[in-house]
Amino acid sequence: MTTEVDALVLRYLQDLEGELRDLPANRRQELLDEVGEHIAAARAALDPETEAGVRTVLERLGDPADIAAEARERGGVQRPPVRPATPWLEVIAIVLLVIPFAGWVVGVVLVWLSRLWTTRDKLIGTLGGMSWVLAGLGTVMTSAGGSRAVGSAPLGPSETSLMAVVLVVIPFVLPVLAAIYLGFRLRGRDAAASAPPS
């Protein structure tokens, strides 16, 4: 009986200690001592001490979270800003976007799985990541156009090399630009999330 009641009290004080963890250690200990003394005095006043009686003592003390909130308010302690967790999904998506071929495909899929980017951000990421598709289509169309254009003037050497440069540059450079853009959008989100509410 006594051990059950002791366990109840111990759990309450442990909950309170957990709620008070962002307070300076001396203030936290002071409050734990005082609430502990309160419980001891209240238990001494119970005659006889019953489990229901002790539960009532703890209920009257209130939710440990309420006591901690009061301690923060009375003590002028701000709840430390919750540091946004590292957005791993987004980081991996950005890294994949700059890795050619399979990376581009998986990166685009991850971009759409994210809930941190806006639809516009995701479209930009997709166009960048999938730019090799555009380049590929361009190649097919060029060669198709070339075969259809048999008889007409063939592409000059300078035009061919320009086309080659474009076809190489688009799939390799645009994903990098898209990845940089998405990274900036992620940083902007972090700054907004950690700014104090106005």
Partner: protein, 116 residues
């Protein structure tokens, strides 16, 4: 009035006055925590969670309005008693004067709508 509004109204009124109720309870004699908290709890609507008094006592002590001393208890271990300091006494006297003035003004407006 909807319960949520009533609750927040009481919370706001309590916020500014509760510390002076604590000082008032300590005016005539020092009290230990449990005794102090139960006396406050006996006043209707002043305290919902008894535990929230301890952060308040902690602040009153840091502000120098209250000190703590240890006294033997008739049963069990020694108890921490909260005692009004002279500065606490002055703060309580000032509040009492202002409170009388304030409640007179509010009462007047509430009951007579401001007519003389």
């Amino acid at each position: 009035m909807v319960p949520a509004k009533r609750e927040s109204l009481i919370t706001q009124m309590r916020r500014g006055t509760l510390e002076y109720c604590v000082l008032a309870l300590l005016r005539d004699q020092p009290r230990y925590g449990f005794d102090l908290v139960r006396s406050l709890g006996a006043a209707d609507g002043l305290v919902t969670s008894e535990g929230t008094i301890y952060p308040l006592l902690s602040r009153l002590r840091r502000d120098g309005l209250v000190t703590t001393t240890w006294h033997e208890s008739p049963s069990g271990p020694p108890r921490r008693y909260y005692q009004l300091t002279s500065e606490g006494g002055r703060a309580l006297a000032l509040f009492t004067t202002e409170w009388d003035r304030f409640t007179d003004a509010v009462d007047h407006l509430l009951r007579q709508g401001g007519s003389p």
